[in-house]
């Protein structure tokens, strides 16, 4: 039985799609069966980031409306065995999908896949409600900016209200030099406010932009800092099934990050 994880943020442009693509690819490289669902109806771009745009025939709404079978709409990524994409329609309205339909779809996918990652649209409206409807877990993405953290906080509250407990945090686009100078919120500051578990920190890295344009997620690039960060998060995510390993990975990851970012050991 697979696990449905929604990747959400509240604020737009903080890295939900980037994270979905990288974690999905990372999990597939580790041999997992993965499907990525783009729920950003009308503003889809997970397909572009994955380099699969030109293979779209059917989409999420076609599946929900029964225009095609689920299998037909899933795009198999030929580069990574086990990786699939269910794209969002570009020309439909958000209201074409209901939370109940999403829940049913997720339950169906769980039968066959190990991980279902849902790329959530920005905001807290219908699209958000659809994206979280079938989720077992949530990853909340923020950047080290006051406004993004504020929105993440709102999202955590809404997730809790929808019984999605203990979301985990990814802080994206961290710049160690700026944190050191005191020009950027530190990870400690962010966790202090949000009070949820950290699953990873992704540095601001131009490789992300390069890889996004190429349609090849940075997680497979051994030289990319952000790629390494996403590999770590992938490992931690998989470690959840093995509690002891989870602990080890988390400690190692955290202490490494602390050194990297020049934390005071309080």
């Amino acid at each position: 039985m697979g696990e449905v994880i929604v990747i959400t943020s509240g604020k737009g442009g903080v890295g939900k799609t980037t994270t979905t693509a990288n974690l999905g690819t990372g999990l597939a490289v580790q041999g997992k069966k993965v499907v990525l669902i783009d729920t950003d109806i009308g503003l889809r771009n997970l397909d572009v980031v994955m380099g699969l745009e030109n293979r779209i025939v059917y989409d999420l709404v076609d599946v929900i409306e029964g225009t095609c079978r689920l299998k037909q709409a899933l795009i198999k990524d030929k580069r990574y065995e086990g990786l699939h994409l269910l794209p969002a329609p570009q020309t439909r309205d958000k209201n074409a999908v209901t939370p109940e339909q999403m829940l049913k779809l997720c339950d169906e996918l769980k039968e066959e896949f190990d991980y279902i990652l849902i790329d959530c649209p920005a905001g807290i409206e219908q699209g958000f409600k659809n994206a979280i409807a079938g989720a077992d877990k949530a990853f909340v993405i923020t950047t080290p900016e006051v406004s993004a953290v504020r929105d993440a906080d709102r999202i955590i509250g809404l997730l809790e209200a929808h019984e999605i407990r203990k979301p985990r945090l990814i802080v994206n686009r961290v710049r160690a030099d700026m944190v050191k100078r005191g020009d950027m919120m530190s990870i400690e500051d962010i966790i202090d406010i949000l009070a949820i578990d950290l699953i990873g920190v992704v540095p601001d890295d131009e490789n992300i932009i390069i890889s996004t344009n190429r349609g090849e997620p940075a997680v497979i690039d051994g030289k990319s800092m952000a790629g390494q960060a996403y590999r770590n998060i992938t490992n931690r995510l998989m470690g959840q099934d093995v509690p002891i390993m989870d602990l080890n990975v988390s400690e190692g990851l955290l202490s490494k990050m602390k050194k990297l970012l020049g934390f005071k050991t309080a």
Partner: protein, 222 residues
Amino acid sequence: MEQETKVVFKGNSEGLVIVIPEEYEFEQARKEIDNKVSNAARFFMGAKIKVTYRGMNLTPVQEEALKDIMDEKSGAVIESFSKDEEPKPNQFAARVVQPKPVPGRRLLFAGVDEGNCKFVRSTVRSGMRIEYDGNVVVIGDVNPGGEIVATGNVVVLGTLRGMVHAGADGNREAFIYALSLRPTQIRIAEVIARMPEDEPESGTLRPELATVKDNSIVVEQR
């Protein structure tokens, strides 16, 4: 057998509000008020208070009669006695308060010393608003964008970074207490304060108490 009393006394920032049910016998109301002020005479002693009433419509003659009783039996100087304008729709439901004698205090708004209390056992996050007619205790933080509005005190056993309004129905006796007080804004009754902007968040908790003194909110370490 003691008869059930329907007339309710409430304190507000101006003085006393008497709430009389709309469809009530004047004679019954008069008796209840007589009883209440007689019992609370020590409490009112020497105070100057403005009295307003809500609910029932009284004729000028009836108003005068009630004012006379108050004057005579309470030991307070009744500066005025008049009908209160209707409470605004977003105000809290009438707080039911029975005055009771407490030495050394002239007007008492029961509840800020002892009264209803709501416990919030989670972080109050951005976008959440907690309204309560009484005191509120948060076991956790109140984050920026989170709001607590209480007619009584607000105690935050965590870091207060959001907005808190204590004594929201005008009670200046209410206080705000937090293990770390870093709010965007705090209000007590109608007094508003915001924190200095450039004070850095310190790692160690420093419990602080905010109260109203001389028309402004003062914060002291506790």
